[in-house]
Every structure is written in C-alpha cells, then in structure tokens.
C-alpha cells in the first residue's frame, strides 16, 4: 500500500462528525444540489407514507408509520452523513469485510432468525428489529465490484479478464442467495449494478457483450424450460395484458394503473385519493408508493418525483465523470445504476410498463433497511465528490 492508501480517518466523536460535515460543506465540497434533491425526495416520501397509511378511524396507525419512517430516515441521513464525512478510501479498505458481512447477513435469512414476508424469506429479525440484508448487499456489491474492477493491476489501465472473473465470482454468491429467497427483483438489481459498473470499467467489450448475451440466453432458457414460478410468469404476462385476470394475478397491476390514471393532471390532493384511502393497491406505502403520489398529487406530482430522481442520478453520474480514480468512478456508476434500475422499474411497474417486482422506490418507500442503504450509497457519492474531483474541478 502506498500513497493512495489513507490513514484510518474514522471520526471519534459526534462533535467531530458535525464539525467535519460542516467544514466540508463550508469548503463547498458538498454537492448541495444532490443533497437538496435527496432531502426533498425524502420529505415527499414521508408525506406519502403518511397519506398512504392514513385511516380516518384511527389516526394512530398512520402516526406510527410516519414516526417509524422518520426515525429510519433520521438514522439513514446520519449514516449517510457519516459515510460522506469520511474519506471514501476508508470504506474501500473495509470493502472485503463489508462484502463478507453482507453475505453473512444473507445467510442469516435461512436460519431461524429469518422471517418470511410476502412469500419471500428476505428478512432477519433480532429482538424486534427487522432488517433486509439484500439492501445492504447492494452497497456491498458496489464496493466489492469497484474494488475488483476499479483498481487495475500494474501496467494495466483497465480490468483484465482475471479481474472480470473475480468480479463475476463476487456477484454470483449474493445473487444466487437473493434469488433463492426468492427475491427476483433484488437479484435483478444486483445483476444490473454489475453490468452497469462493468460497462463503465473499461473492461473488454467482449465481456460486456458476452455477459449481455448470456443474460439473454438465460432469460430464453427460463422461458423455454419453464423455470419461473407461476406467480413470476404471471407478473410478466399481466404486464402485457393487466386486464386478463383483474381479481387475481392482474389485480396489483390493474389497481395501480387505475390509481395513477384516476389522479389526473392535478391529482386529488393529499388524503383525498379514493384508491389510496380504500387500500385498493396492495403495498401502497412500500413498493407501490408511486401510485399514491400519482393519484393524490397527479401528473404534476409524478413529474416532480421523476424529475428529482433523474436529477439525483444525473448528479451522481456527474460526480462519476469528475472522478480521478477508477475505483471512485465505479462506485458512483454503481450507485447511479442501482437508483436508475430500481427507481425506474418501480415507477414503470405502477405505470404498467415494467413487470411487478418487489422493489421499493428509492428515497420514497417506507422501509428502514432500504432507506439506510440508499442514504449510505448517497453518502459514498458525496464522500467521493468531496475528495476525488480531478483537475477540472479543483
């Protein structure tokens, strides 16, 4: 380890953290646009969690959800700030550990600590606290992949075949473990993150083309050999015709589109949505929270959310573009791919243009682990922005 391995710079006290965040901000090394966009999205998300869980008979229910969401959000912002405040190279040092820990978390799901929610063994529950290891795996995979593809060997300026093979190996175990939970959505996110990072790593084009080809062949195999579960197949078929079985498989898709469409241009207003208050869309405070926005805030609100999300991704990619170090750039690319894939597939499924997968909408959906994981990812990007800005930003 030479010049680029930094000393351990973890902050010792809260005061130090606050001081450091403040100092970094003052030195205008914070992407305030990114921060603002993320905070506005989170605020809108909190509102949507409130309205989507609101029941006139029992205001305490919604209050409980909002309270928990705000606690999650507070923790998440804190974690994000913490990550943002340290040198991005510190987490890099722990990347293998983080990766192994996340694998352990995934393994725990299959122990008695694991819990089945909505047919998927995706949760662990300890002392009343629940967590979704798959969310942390996304961050861990970004770090591990960036490490393997973003630190070219001596004499190389791009990942070699060996690097790619190692990276593939690092992808394989979490992806398989998530897939058997089963959580098709999250494993697709992992695959997307990997492909996005690989394509921006400068790895040989044959690898990228080859992997895309393999993916295509895999999809075709699944199709031909009937490897999908019935419900998974149904999610794809209802994508093409949501009205085929409106009370059964197509129910979610159908009700989501009704909720979105009935919002109209201006929306019904917060707490006024009839689809929302009637709970016609299942999981409307988590996976289907966009339908609440579209119904109650209308086209205006929907566009605002899509625009803010695009702005966040844009800023992350802008940070990536400014990165001196391949590792740092790849981390940003990973985060951008993650947000893009998960955000747009989530919105797309509520609009009937993507199959229904159990993915939360970043920054908006209720859910502690997911919120913390995304904020940590944003923290990573902010940290990179603060320290690795290349010459044109200096």
């Amino acid at each position: 380890m030479t010049a680029y391995t930094s000393p351990h710079v973890a902050p010792a006290t809260w005061r130090e953290v606050v001081g450091r965040v403040f100092a970094v901000g003052v030195r205008r090394r914070v992407d305030w646009v990114l921060v603002a966009a993320v905070l506005v999205l989170s605020a809108v998300g909190s509102l949507l969690v409130w309205t989507s869980t609101h029941t006139p008979e029992d205001p305490a229910v919604a209050a409980g959800y909002v309270q928990r969401h705000l606690v999650h959000l507070g923790m998440a912002v804190l974690c994000g700030a913490l990550v943002a405040s340290v040198d991005y190279r510190a987490p890099r040092a722990y990347a293998p550990v983080v990766y192994l820990l996340s694998l352990a978390g995934l393994a725990l799901v299959f122990t008695p600590l694991g819990e089945v929610v909505n047919g998927s063994r995706g949760w662990i529950s300890v002392a009343g606290l629940q967590a979704q290891p798959a969310e942390f795996v996304k961050v861990a995979l970004i770090l591990a992949t960036a490490m393997l593809l973003g630190e070219p060997r001596d004499g190389e300026h791009a990942p070699t075949t060996r690097d790619v093979v190692f990276a593939l190996a690092a992808l394989a175990s979490p992806m398989v473990m998530v897939l058997v939970q089963p959580d098709l959505g999250s494993s697709l996110v992992l695959g997307a993150i990997f492909l996005g990072m690989l394509s921006m790593s400068g790895a040989p084009v044959r690898w990228i083309a080859g992997l895309l080809g393999c993916g295509l062949v895999a999809v075709l195999c699944v199709w031909w050999f009937d490897l999908l579960q019935d419900y998974q197949l149904a999610r794809v078929t209802t994508l093409f015709d949501p009205t085929a079985d409106p009370q059964g498989r197509g129910y979610n898709a159908n009700q989501a589109i009704i909720a979105v469409g009935s919002g109209g241009f201006e929306g019904t207003g917060l707490f006024q949505g009839e689809q929302t208050s009637g709970r016609f869309v299942p999981e409307q405070h988590t996976d289907f929270i966009f339908t609440v926005a579209a119904e109650e805030l209308g086209f205006i609100g929907g566009v605002l959310i899509i625009a803010l999300l695009t702005l966040v991704i844009w800023r992350v990619l802008r940070v990536a573009a400014g990165c001196e170090q391949p590792y740092a750039r790849l981390v940003c690319v990973g985060v951008a791919t993650w947000l893009t894939f998960q955000g747009f597939v989530n919105i797309g499924m509520t609009l009937g243009v993507a199959p229904i997968t159990g993915l939360p909408l970043p920054f908006l959906s209720y859910g502690g682990t997911a919120t913390i994981a995304t904020m940590v990812a944003i923290g990573l990007v902010l940290a990179i922005h603060a320290r690795d800005r290349g010459f044109e930003h200096a």
Binding site: G261, F265, V333
Partner: protein, 719 residues
C-alpha cells in the same frame, strides 16, 4: 498491491469513459422521459376512463326493493297484504373476516334455532357457476337470509346476546299474506323468484333486480306486476378493497308500489266460494270442478270470481319446495292453479237459448206467436229430442225459455238453416245464430285483466272448414278402417258413418250442426265469464262490457289515484223489444220454470231473480250444470253464473248455488229455514237471516281512501 500511476495512459482511457458516462446520462433522461410520457397518457387523455374505473371500484350499489302494494277489495279490505315475518340473517363480510370463517357463529345459530349447521353454511356461500343451491343469490352487501319465519322469542335471544352472534341479526321482512286463504287464489295469483328468461325479456326488470326478487306469476299479481312492485331504491356504499363499508355515498329511497283497488267484494267473494264449495260437495259423485262469476252488470266489474278446486297461495312464499309443487300439479289436486271461471270451456247448453232466441227474433221469428214443443223432431234423418224426452204441446217462446224446450229451438234453427240454403248454401248465408253468438261475445276472450283467458269456440262455417282441413286425414283413415276396437257394434257402425261423412264433406254446415248449436251443444264452448258477461248485457239493456277486476291504482301514501279504464263496450245487435221479451221470460224461470225448486222460499218479490238453467251433456261424462242469472230482475245490478262440472242438471246443482250467493249478497236466510220464515207472517224483513254481504245491494262507486300514513279507509267514511 503496488500500482504505478501513468498519467498518460490514465488520461487516454478517460476520454472514452467520459463519452460512456455522457451516454449513460442521456439514457437516464430518455428513460425518465419515457415514464413521463406514459404517465401523461394515463393521467391526461385516459384520466376520465380511470376515474370511472376507480369509482366503480369503491362504490358498491345495493338495490333496495320497494314494498309491494297491497291488493284491496272495493271496500279497502286487503285481499293480499304484506305481513311481516322474522328472519335471521348474516353479514357476509363479517363472517368472512372472522378467523374461522364464521363457523362458530353459525354453529351457535344452528344450535339455537335447531337447524342443521351444514345447511346454514351452504346458505352463506355466494351463488356462482360452481356453487349451486342452497346458496345466496343476492349481493354480499345484503344481509344473507339464514332462517325464515323464526319464532320471536328465539329472534330476541339473538338480539340480546349480540356478543355470541357477531354479524347475525334478526330482521322483520315483508312477505305476502293471504287473509282469504284458498279463496280467489287463481284470481290473485302468486309471486315467484324472477327467472333468467324473465330478466332477459323485460328490460325494466334488469336494472331493478338484485337476484332475490319476486315477480307476479299469475292472476292480478302478474297483470299489475309493474304497478304493484314500485320502483326499487339504490343505496350506494363506499367500500374499501376488503369490501368493508366505509360510508353511504348516496341513497335513492325506494318508491313503494301502488295499492291495487279491485272491484272484488271480500264478503261476496267469501259467500261465493263457500256456496260453490258446498254446491260442489253436495253434487258428489264425479263432480270435479266448479266456477262462479259475479259481475256488476252496469260496469262489467267483477264482484267475485271463484274456481274450485283451489289452494292456498301461501305455499309459494319463500320459494315453493319440490314436494308441494308436485302435489299442486298432481292429478289428485285437480289442477287447482287453473281458473275455471276464465279458462274452463264448457258447452253453454240451454243457457245459450237466449242467444238463439235473439237471433231468431232479429231475423223474423215472431215473438207473439206460439210454437209446438214435441218431445222430438227429426232433422236430416236423425232424431233430436227434448231433455228427458218430454213434450209441452204448443207454447210461446217465453214459455219455451221458462221450461227450457229444446225442440222449439231445433225447429227454429232448422228453418233458418234451410233459409240459408241448407247443404248448398247461398253465396252469403245469414248464419244468424253463429253471428249472434259472436255478437254476444262468445268465441273470443272478453279482455278481462287476467292472464291466460280462454276464448271459447263458436263452431261456425269457417271453423268447420278449418277443422275439417286439419282432421280430414284421420277421418278418412277411420272411414276406411272402421272402429274395430269398439265393443258395441252399433256404436262402431255409427262412428264409422260419422267418419265417412267427415272424410267426404266434413266442412259442410249441416242441419245437425245448426240444430245442436241452437241449444248450446255440439262444438260450441264458452267460459263462465263469457256467459256472465252475456247475461249482464241482457240485463243492462244490451251493453257488452269488457270485464275488469282492477278499479284503480292508489299510491301507498294516498297521493295519486289512477283509475283503470276498460275497453270500449260493445252493443248487442238486439232490439229493446227482444231484450224486454227475454228479460220477462228469464224472470219467470226461478218463479215457475226449471229453477223453481232452487229458489223455493227466496223472496223473489223483494229481489226478483232472472236466469236460465243449462245442462251440458257430453258422451261418457256426467252432465254439467249451469245457472246463468241476474238480479234484481226489475233493476239489474248483478249477473251471477255458476257452473258445476259433471255435477248434474243446472236446476238441481247450479241454481241452488246461485241462490245462496244472492242470499249472501242481500242477507236473506238460506233455504233451510225459509219455511219457518214463510210461516211466520210473510213480512219480508223477517227473511233477512244475516248481515248482507253488500249492504244496500250495490257495490260502491267511490274508491276507498288511502291516508298519508298508509292506512286505508272504506269509501264513504270520513278520512
């Protein structure tokens, strides 16, 4: 791990990666734009479509049936009313939500009411393609009926122990009540659950029905179904995705159906039914059915109408079970669903002589001459006899009616037949008798406001030709083959002869046809209602009314009254002189003619009765007795016709029933104690044995009044 940074190589790689990142940024914006476009499509051009879908989602419509109107008699007394019964019902959603699917609750109900648990469980399933009865045909937002007609004490227990019976309620439900039991059953009709075919046929029903509704299936309930039903209300509930009702969105209250005020008099109906039942019973033997009609001669309104055998229409309540239904249709029951008064078709026999006499009188037969009444005459090689073969020498047509001489009318018909050209008729034969039969309203339905009315049959030349064309082949085959299966060789030969005749020229209007027709025999058949209407026309001076039972429809709160119109009446083409002649002859029948025995002791001076007996014969059966009448003969008010099928002669079986009906209407004591009354001192007041069914002897002209609170006041009484 060691690395050497080579700025050149790094810088060289950076350019393409920058391009890649730019491409990624463009891709992200393009994706966002795609989603925005899709959202625009859903939320702007398609917004209305999805808003209507959302509304359909969260609004559940429940049809609230209207209270059916009552059927009232002319005095406002209920003939069919709504009685309430207690039913125990369950809330579908509440059962669904309970952890065991409502099993425990249903077991409690089953224990309390002593019904099988499985039955209750089956009743709470919603009917569907795979779920057959018993199941719930209605909406899950309606209370599901578990048990009907529950004892009030048990129902109370359910309401008191709410905690043991979550989702279970006891409710009062209106059901049809028949205070007259089996009286006027065919006339009133009944209700049955609506069928799919009926829903498809009647557009207006489709929007109104919830799947558990009833429609009138016969009688007045069917004819006035729309008016009695009223308009269903709609209650729109707001519901959430689990079907929980979260509020009432809007409510259109049901409009209760109108009450149907009929011209039936409940007491006269009772008198009629009871007299008829007694008459049928005392006729004994093969007597199988009977009918009676009482008309208001001045309006054509039906005052009472009875048909036996009858049944209690309450068997239809709540859906008839198969056993009872089979019983109703069994041979033993004697077809109680058919109203003999409007559907039964019988030869009118001698009651038809009024028509024959009118036909003769209007075609040149002198009313002031005398005619010979031999015991038989020979026409076309066949002998036609008086009833029981007795002769009366020479008599007037008046006397011929009073003693019911057949041969006078045979001769009259034969003469008229010959005038028309006999077997080779003129270009346009007069056919005075068959024409007059049509003019008296026979051969076509009267147009009464009841379904399935029979038309009777006037066998004129036209009918004979049609009949011959239809049956010629069989007749010719019989003419060829004979009747080898017939035991009596004489009869077999006769039948073969008839068949030969029928095969060769059965279309001909023969002398025998004309002769038989004149005394209401042969192929001529009429319904009791047709005959009553004809006699009413004779009584009222020749007006042939379209009979009506419904007088008016009155709104349940009394605000609206719609009178029921009847069609334009016809006029008998008979001169006043002939009608006067007929009336005076008919008035002598109960005094000194064929009905003398039946009217023994009846105060004819006070209420003179005019009428004619009839005894219809058909081979292989006992004769059926008629009495067609009207009263009072000097100022007619009622026409009364009674038929006892296979009961015996009209004078012996039918006339006593008619007399009893008049007794009841006017409140005279019956024939049993008539002797005592006569022996007292002849004061007519003494002969009033009981309360008259129709005080004053006149049906009311006013309608009963319905007060705004729904109570009903008899006509003439203060509101």
């Amino acid at each position: 791990m060691r690395r050497i940074i080579d700025p050149r190589s790094e810088g060289g790689a950076r350019r393409p990666r920058k391009v890649g990142l730019l491409a990624a940024q463009i891709l992200v914006v393009a994706l966002a734009a795609t989603l925005t476009a899709r959202m625009w499509y859903l939320q702007v051009p398609m917004a209305e479509h999805y808003q209507s879908l959302a509304a359909a989602n969260h609004i559940q419509e429940l049809v609230v049936p209207a209270t059916r109107g009552q059927i009232l008699d002319a005095q406002g007394r209920p003939l069919v009313r709504n009685r309430t019964e207690l039913t125990v019902s369950a809330d579908y959603h509440q059962l669904e939500r309970s952890p065991d699917g409502g099993e425990e609750v249903l077991r409690n109900v089953a224990d309390l009411l002593d019904v099988p648990f499985e039955e209750l469980q089956r009743r709470t399933r919603l009917c569907g393609p795979d779920v057959s009865r018993p199941c719930w045909q209605g909406s899950p937002y309606q209370p599901i009926t578990l048990v009907e007609d529950v004892d009030a004490r048990l129902a109370l227990q359910i309401m008191e122990r709410r905690e043991d019976f979550p989702g279970i309620t006891a409710q009062q439900r209106p059901v049809r009540g028949y205070p007259m039991e089996d009286r006027a059953a065919q006339l009133l009709g009944y209700l049955q659950p609506v069928t799919q075919e009926e829903l498809e046929e009647r557009e207006d029903l489709r929007t109104q029905f919830t799947g558990v509704d009833y429609v009138g299936r016969d009688g007045l309930e069917a004819v006035y179904d729309d008016e009695l039903r009223g308009t269903s209300g709609v209650r729109k509930y707001e519901v959430d995705s689990r079907g929980n009702v979260t509020g009432v969105f809007s409510e259109t209250p049901p409009e209760p159906g109108d009450h149907l005020v009929t011209s039936i008099d409940e007491r006269v109906q009772r008198v009629t039914e009871d007299a008829l039942a007694k008459g049928l019973e005392s006729a004994g033997g093969p007597a199988d059915s009977a009918a009676a009609v009482v008309l208001d001669v001045n309006t054509g309104h039906v005052v009472s109408m009875a048909s036996l055998p009858s049944y209690d229409p309450s068997v239809w309540e709540g859906g008839i079970d198969q056993e009872t239904y089979d019983e109703l249709l069994s041979e033993d029951a004697g077809d109680p669903l058919t109203s003999r008064a409007i559907q039964g078709q019988y030869p009118p026999a001698s009651t038809f002589k009024v028509t024959s006499l009118a036909a003769g009188a209007e075609n040149g037969v002198p009313l002031d001459k005398t005619f010979s009444c031999p015991s038989s005459i020979s026409v076309g090689g066949r002998s036609f006899q008086n009833y029981e073969g007795s002769g009366h020498g020479s008599l007037s047509l008046h006397k011929a009616i009073v003693v019911s001489c057949n041969t006078v009318f045979y001769q009259m018909a034969y003469d008229m037949w010959k005038e028309d050209g006999g077997l080779s008729p003129d270009e346009e034969p007069e056919d005075a008798m068959t024409t007059m039969a049509h003019d008296f309203g026979f051969g076509e339905p009267t147009g009464i406001d009841l379904p399935h009315e029979g038309s009777g049959r006037v066998p004129d030349r036209e009918w004979k030709r049609e009949y011959w064309e239809d049956t010629r082949e069989q007749a010719c085959e019989r003419a060829e083959r004979g009747y080898p299966e017939e035991d009596d060789p004489e009869r077999a030969e006769y039948l073969e002869q008839v068949a030969e005749e029928q095969c060769a020229d059965g279309y001909r209007w023969r002398a025998g046809d004309a002769v038989n027709f004149s005394i209401g025999q042969g192929d001529l058949v009429v319904t009791p209602l047709q005959l009553a209407r004809a006699y009413a026309a004779i009584a009222n001076g020749g007006t042939l009314h379209e009979p009506r039972i419904g007088k008016a429809l009155v709104a349940a709160d009394g605000t609206g009254v719609t009178e029921i119109e009847s069609g334009e009446p016809d006029k008998l083409p008979v001169s006043d002189r002939t009608l006067d002649y007929l009336r005076s002859a008919l008035a002598d029948v109960p005094r000194k003619g064929t009905a003398r025995g039946a009217f023994g002791g009846f105060p004819l001076d006070e209420v003179p009765v005019a009428g004619k007996t009839g005894t219809a014969t058909s081979t292989g059966k006992k004769e059926s007795g008629w009495f067609a009448s009207y009263a009072p003969a000097d100022d007619p008010q009622f026409a009364v016709v009674v038929l006892i099928s296979q009961g015996g002669t009209g004078g012996a079986v039918a006339a006593p029933v008619v007399r009893e009906i008049y007794d009841g209407i006017y409140g005279f004591s019956g024939p049993e104690d008539a002797d005592d009354a006569e022996s007292a001192d002849g004061d007519p007041d003494d002969q009033r044995g009981s309360e008259p069914a129709l005080p004053g002897g006149e049906p009311p002209t006013e309608l009963p009044t319905v007060r705004s609170d729904g109570s009903i006041v008899a006509p003439g009484e203060p509101d």
